[in-house]
Amino acid sequence: MPSSIANDPISVLVAFRGGTVKPWKFRWGNRMFEVKRVNLIHGSREGRSRVFTFSCSDDANFWKLRFDTESLEWRLVEYATE
């Protein structure tokens, strides 16, 4: 299942646990999704902006959520479904 690229703004509820922040639930369009696992978190730079990418999943879906620390904006940038 090849993943699809997106660049959609999303609303995210996060959990602060053990000194780290992890996405917990997010709203994409009219649907709410619950993140079961955060598989990898990586950072990168876009200009002076530090961007964090959270590779998340539940049992049937994969999502890549991107948080821009400059604009404080969350976007869904990639997704795949079983």
Binding site: N39, G47, S55
Partner: protein, 426 residues
């Protein structure tokens, strides 16, 4: 005292990072890179794909022919680089002597440190446990333990994935085996004398196909034969430096240290394989300009300028040619690098289809003084201003009109110097 060296080699690295990110890819044959229908190559294959015969550097067409279910994914280089920096951080918690050998492998000199962890094997297990906890279950490594880098690298190749192999020079040597003990479940113990009876020469790090052919010409076809060959005969054939090194390699010896601090760069360069063979000079000119801009930007970021400009063209039939010239003055200006490079490249292109273009700058010096003439000062101010905008808002926010819209796809490369992997510099 004998040294204790680890070679830690990540298994199917780019594919493992992709599987770590996306659990839907786990247990499936995947290939990173090489879009179907293009001439791209598979830069890395997952274990499942390797079992089906897919190999690194195989064309996407060939890989899909062997394994029609192969899922081809784009590599996320930011995730790969971050994962590399994280495993290097783990290694540096155990020893300060870590040599970054490529984006997915490193040498560690643990001679002075392994005893505090209960010996080399226990230390290797602790590193693996840290990696699993901090990087995820898909990111595994094979660890070779030996008394030098040559043997450690050979050892890590002997058990993949996720192995620990201790390789001693010989069963009679008083080195590693005595200190480690010969029975440790889950760990493979081998001796160089034994394995070299069956392993081909190219298993030794530093012997590639061309060297193998030269060795074969003088009657050496196995590692064992290389070890038995008189050092004088090797020196006669390969010269004093390479001949002596080959003699040592054949006997499982390698005095080279683990180099944890690297020298300043000696050159800067970029090359690009075009999506299709090109004869159109205008496309090649624009591509060269974009490459020159990339080289110059990297030089300025690292505070260097250079005065030897070189170009390389690889043609459709994989033959290639290059030219170089020495400038009077040092430069870090993409336009100046391009002008010199195009002067060199122009006679080389346009008649035969080219598949790859490269430009490099050597004779490097730290960035020089502010120019004397007002026109040159204005040019430097313009470049500095453009750099500031690009630093602030991201690469190519401001760029020359001629390269506007040109996309040079980022390489999926194993070379750590091509990626922002954390290395210590002098």
């Amino acid at each position: 005292m004998n040294r204790v060296i680890f070679h830690i080699d990540m298994n199917s690295y780019f594919a493992s990072v992709a599987q770590q990110m996306n659990p839907l890819l786990r247990g499936k044959p995947i290939g990173v890179g090489g879009k179907p229908g293009t001439r791209g190559i598979i830069a890395a294959a997952s274990r499942e794909a390797k079992k089906r015969g897919v190999k690194t550097a195989m064309s996407a067409y060939e890989a899909l022919r062997l394994c029609p279910e192969l899922i081809i994914v784009d590599g996320d280089m930011d995730a790969v680089v971050e994962t590399t920096n994280r495993f290097l951080d783990i290694f540096r918690r155990y020893t300060d002597e870590v040599e970054v050998f490529s984006v997915d492998e490193a040498f560690l000199d643990v001679t002075d440190w392994h005893e505090r962890y209960g010996g080399p094997v226990k230390m290797a297990r602790m590193i693996k446990a840290d990696m699993r906890r901090e990087l995820g279950e898909c990111i595994t490594a094979s660890i070779g333990i030996a008394e030098n880098k040559l043997l450690a690298k050979l050892a890590s190749d002997l058990q993949k994935p996720d192995g620990i192999v201790v390789l001693s020079k010989s069963s009679s040597s008083t080195g590693l085996f005595v200190r480690i003990g010969l029975s440790d479940p889950g760990v493979r113990f081998e001796t160089f004398d034994e394995i070299t009876k069956t392993l081909p020469l190219t298993e030794l790090c530093g012997i590639a196909e061309r060297l193998r052919i030269r060795l074969e010409r003088i009657g050496i076809t196995t590692i064992e034969e290389l070890g038995r060959a008189p050092v004088g005969a090797l020196i006669d054939e390969f010269g004093p430096v390479a001949g002596t090194k080959l003699h040592l390699m054949g006997n499982g010896e390698d005095p080279s240290p683990v180099i944890s601090v690297v020298d300043s760069p000696k050159s800067f360069g970029h090359s690009y394989t075009m999506p299709a063979d090109v004869t159109d000079r205008e496309i090649l000119r624009k591509t060269l300009f974009a490459l020159a801009e990339k080289v110059a930007r990297r030089m300025r970021r690292e505070g260097f300028s250079g005065r030897h400009i070189g170009v390389y063209v690889r043609y459709y039939d994989f033959s290639g040619t290059g030219e170089g010239m020495m400038r009077k003055n040092f430069t870090d200006d993409g336009l100046e690098i391009f002008r010199a490079a195009w002067k060199l490249a122009r006679p080389l292109v346009g008649t035969r289809p080219a598949r790859l273009l490269g430009v490099h700058v050597s004779e490097i010096s730290h960035r020089g003084q502010i120019p004397l003439f007002p026109a040159d000062r204005r040019r430097v101010a313009l470049i500095d201003a453009a750099d500031e905008v690009n630093d602030r808002y991201g690469e190519r926010t401001v760029e020359p009109l001629v390269t506007l819209g040109m996309i040079l796809k980022r390489h999926v490369s194993g070379f750590h110097h091509a990626l922002p992997v954390s290395v210590k510099r002098k």
